[in-house]
């Protein structure tokens, strides 16, 4: 950092006023001098902006309908598979599908949402260059944007679960839920998903074409491998170790155990709750390290090659 820069009002020598200084010189050291406050502010700004864009400045009621119908359609699509086979009495299958499908809204929000955020800012709104070059922590801004998407996903997830309980007879009772397991699984799992989304967003900055499709491809692959709508035992034996190495597999298992009170039959059945949480923590740690490393490397590369303000027209 250039030491010759005149101290601004938010630098140690320039006073403690928060935010932009209307009358002082620009101080690029601001983000370094008040890291926590700036990070928090970026997070908040990202979340507020994300919410505004997500809700598309539309009527709240209309937006609520939009947010609910899509995940509801996804879960009904699966439940119809059970109905059509006349297996409506198989409450275990319906419960498995409803819980997996409702939780999957978070994956869509974290992966597809984050990549769309970064690409939209670059290609559509064309503000990414300003966000990246501002002293605001870019990562915090992105996490804030993800927070807004996850909030919308939470609404969809809860509504789908409620409909599953009321209309489809999914055996979830508020008094029987293993709340500590649910909280721990959800917290760790969401961290992992955001990390994966951030890594993917950095990667997609490098792409010329089809960048929008990558998160959907990754989400599609995870959908197949993580036991979202069928137990991983159905997959060929060679793929099962891959499934077990993926954090979302353990995240979904943790949520299912917490909500339904019983493990998924098959390879997951003999494992204890502690083992599931430990596996989730370990695989998530790997995901966080890989995701953040990927993001930093990719962001540096994007800066070097002038990709931050590149318009691909994709």
């Amino acid at each position: 950092m250039n030491a010759a820069v005149a101290p601004g009002p938010t630098s140690p020598a320039g006073g403690a006023a928060a935010g932009f200084a209307p009358d002082g010189p620009f101080d690029p050291r601001r983000a370094e001098t008040r890291p926590f406050a700036d990070t928090l502010r970026s997070l908040r700004a990202g979340a507020r902006l994300g919410w505004a864009i997500e809700s598309n400045w539309s009527d709240p009621l209309l937006f609520a309908i939009y947010s609910i119908i899509k995940p509801l359609g996804a879960v009904m699509l699966l439940v119809a598979l059970v109905w059509v086979l006349g297996a409506g009495g198989r409450s275990d299958a319906i419960a498995y599908l409803v819980v997996g499908s409702s939780a999957w809204t978070f994956v869509g929000a974290a992966l597809i949402g984050l990549v769309q955020t970064i690409l939209d800012d670059r290609e559509h709104y064309r503000v990414l260059k300003y966000v990246v070059t501002s002293p605001a922590p870019f990562l915090a801004y992105l996490v804030g944007r993800a927070g807004a998407q996850l909030l919308v996903a939470t609404i969809g997830c809860l509504v789908v679960l409620a409909i599953g309980v009321v209309l489809l007879g999914v055996p979830i009772s508020l008094t029987a839920i293993n709340w500590p397991l649910l909280a721990v699984s959800m917290a760790i799992g969401l961290v992992g998903l955001i990390a994966l989304g951030i890594g993917l967003a950095g990667f997609c900055l490098q792409l010329r074409q089809e960048a929008w499709s990558y998160p959907e491809a990754v989400a599609g692959a995870l959908y197949l491998l993580c036991g979202a709508i069928f137990p991983i035992d159905v997959l060929p034996a060679a793929l099962q170790p891959v499934c077990l190495a993926l954090a979302p597999t353990w995240w979904l298992e943790g949520i299912r155990r917490a909500l339904l009170g019983e493990p998924t039959p098959g390879v997951m059945a003999p494992l204890s709750d502690t083992t599931v949480v430990a596996a989730l923590a370990v695989t998530t740690a790997g995901l966080v390290v890989a995701g953040l490393a990927c993001f930093r490397v990719m962001l540096r590369r994007a800066r070097d090659r002038g990709l931050i303000d590149q318009l691909t027209g994709s």
């Binding site: 899509k70 699509l77 559509h124 074409q209 499709s213 491809a217 599609g220």
Partner: protein
Amino acid sequence: MSGSMVPVAPLDGAEPAGHSPYAWRRSPDPTTASGWSRQRLLAANTRSVLGRAFPRVVGALREPSWVAFEVGMPLLTTSAFVLVYRALDAPEEYVGFAVVGGAMIAFWANVIWMMAAQLYWERSQGNLELYFTAPIHLMSILLGMAIGGLFASAIRAAVVVATASLVFGVEYSVSSWAGLVLVFLLTLAALYGLGMLLASLFLLWGREAWHLVQLLQEPVYFLGGMYTPIRVLGSFAFLVAGILPLAVGLDAIRQLAFAGTEDIGLLPVGVEAAILAVMVVVFIVLAYHALAYVERLARREGRLTVRWQ
């Protein structure tokens, strides 16, 4: 319009300005203002159809990366549904139902993303003003989009059917090839007619377009019976069959492609083909009028072509 030039209304009683392209002329639309002969207008509209189809066809052939996504992703989704059927010990014909439905998603996705929402995106890219000011009908632009999109979607659907059938061992027993081809073509015509209608509506609804596209995916996959016969919806299926060409077309295609499964179908194939034929006419006529309305609105208010609206 005759083969000669269109009469030009003088401004404020002034002498007609002749046919100079720079003269101000009172006219309802650019087609009339152009003063072109019928043949020339036909040629211009034909060129517009080909011109709008060209980038889609060439793009599909020139950019190999699309294969990975356009084919790979539907395969992943279809595989997931097939595996659910396998996990539930479903009869094998249901696997075939899921594969055919997965292939038809290619066309539906094309209709909603590259037809319905396309004019909205064209506006963001600044092309919409050009369309409205060119002496062509907007239907020719949409027809070009449909032809180009059909090309790419047909390849995608064919690859999905071939690969998934091979991987999951699906066996087809077609009861009537002619009927199957006819129903398939009617389904596509009705689908793209609906796409043309939605294109004008999306333009009117502005920023809600994104949400609408989202709404037209999973909920429509469920209602349209993409992975399950629509009979599962009970009497509600009849309502869906009357609105959604995908639902009725897919039901007929399944009955024809898997002989012996007629009892799973909603209506006899002949009735479903007739419904599709009616849909083709209704959607295209509605699209024609909706586009004319949008064009009038765009010129009168000058707001529809403004970005970010």
